[in-house]
Symmetry: C2
Subunit: 264 residues, 2 copies
DNA sequence: TTGATGGAGATGTCAGACATCTATCGTCGG
DNA sequence: CCGACGATAGATGTCTGACATCTCCATCAA
């Protein structure tokens, strides 16, 4: 067999790190990674479901459940009586259906992510921010202000707001300096949530708007006044449905191209 | 029972009009419509799967398959051992994950859709258009140019390109005047595809870009020069994976707000 | 040459059983 | 009185095996 799956080492999907998600979700995640890494080529055919079942050591119904997830997300296409195929243009990290962070987005474009003008502070939430995060106005939030760079070019200006009440480890408050140090090293807020706070982001709801750069934004992003900007304001939701973070991101128009898979 | 589903008349999902899609997809579509219409309220709990199974007259596995589709699309949320719930903020027609047309988008916002400056013509495809539609440069396409209005306000400038070879009914060419008459009456390209050409659009892949209005666009949309515009260039794909249409739409910035559900 | 036909192989659907998780409520001990 | 614990009901998750249906393709007959 020249099937890519056959040459992959067997990865146990019943590991200890995944206790929170279902088997089917893990199957989907595993196959999705193989697609996004390019191991499974676009337009190629997957093994049939019984073979996938034995390979992944789960039942056929679980395989089918995972495949349904991938199909709905646009990664694969199933043709009754024929087979299951990787999509011709499967989603990538610049797809709005996938909740990837700026760091991953930059890295997947082949550039080196970085940042300048990093600011972190605690402040009372404005009415707008409190509304998005289901807080009371005045509740404290931790605010991050960053200018993100790709190969040292300024491409994104991002504002992140996280309820201060979340920064706790067994009751003890986590100092902002620790958060700062973590972000300087890892750059990703998402991994901090998972590894340090033990919280999983389930999904995000993003609002997309076109903007023209006013003076402040033009200076931050080093672009001419009036340049086009894509604004994505996103609320990240946890497993229990509660808002975990609000991120307000401003993308230089020609730095990235965003796509969306729209199902009928 | 005060369950909304119980008071719904039974809708046979094995009808003749749906021969092309699977049972699970029809289940998902039916429940999705109930959610988007507001019959099933946000945050409310669905009946359990065995009850849904008997109500919809399909097996529990088919119900589960349909629910998986809805879950992945952000309409519902399942909690193991607890139940299935309508999402707090389920997707609406202004969601980029859903392939709704401009007409439906305007109507769902509570406004009356219309258009001015309607143009239809056949012309050879440019290199760009041919590439998107998997044609050879020079192949004929039907081009639609429309300024769409919401309550008589100009909100979208849209360009649609469809391979001329698709406009056939049992071998006979469909005259452009008929297409024109249909669009004047129904305004929707999607229904024309389904009802007149017998073709189903399976999904679309959209590219989202922020723009500043240059002179031509500013005139068409009656907005100041340099105003922000959201450009969505979308390729609609049929059930067999072939491109059916290319639509290039320019949205006045403050006319609509687009959202996207981003799953992790 | 062409149309019908049948088989192989794939996904789709069904049925029933069991596994596992969650919330709740009672019981028991402090 | 109150908290910890366990039983239990009820929900979703997983497994198994069977059958249905669709597609493609090779074969065969007109």
């Amino acid at each position: 067999m020249d099937n890519p799956l056959k040459s992959q080492p067997y990865v146990p999907i019943n590991g200890d790190d995944y206790d929170n998600s279902s088997l089917a979700q893990r199957v989907a995640e595993q196959l999705r990674n193989l697609i996004m890494e390019g191991t499974l080529a676009p337009d190629s055919q997957l093994p049939n479901e019984p073979d996938l079942s034995t390979f992944l050591r789960v039942s056929r119904s679980t395989v089918r459940s995972g495949l349904t997830i991938l199909e709905q997300a646009g990664f694969i296409q199933r043709r009754w009586g024929v087979g299951t195929f990787i999509s011709k243009n499967p989603p990538t990290y610049n797809n709005l259906n996938i909740n990837s962070g700026v760091t991953q987005l930059i890295r997947s474009s082949g550039a080196e992510p970085g940042f300048v003008e990093f600011l972190i502070s605690a402040r009372p939430a404005s009415e707008h921010i409190a509304g998005r995060l289901s807080l009371e106005p005045g509740d404290e939030v931790v605010a991050l202000e960053r200018v993100r760079t790709a190969n040292d070019r300024r491409v994104v200006f991002s504002l992140d707001y996280i309820p201060k009440a979340l920064f706790r480890d067994q009751g003890a408050e986590i100092p902002l300096t620790e958060v700062e140090n973590y972000l300087v090293e890892h750059q990703s807020m998402y991994t901090f949530f998972r590894e340090r706070l033990g919280m999983e982001i389930h999904h995000g709801i993003a609002r997309i708007r076109p903007l023209a750069a006013e003076a402040y934004m033009a200076e931050k992003l080093a672009i001419p006044y009036g340049s086009s900007i894509l604004n994505i304001e996103q609320v990240d939701i946890g497993n229990d449905g509660e808002p975990l973070a609000l991120s307000d991101e401003y993308y230089v128009a020609d730095a990235f191209t965003f796509y969306s898979y729209r199902s009928n």
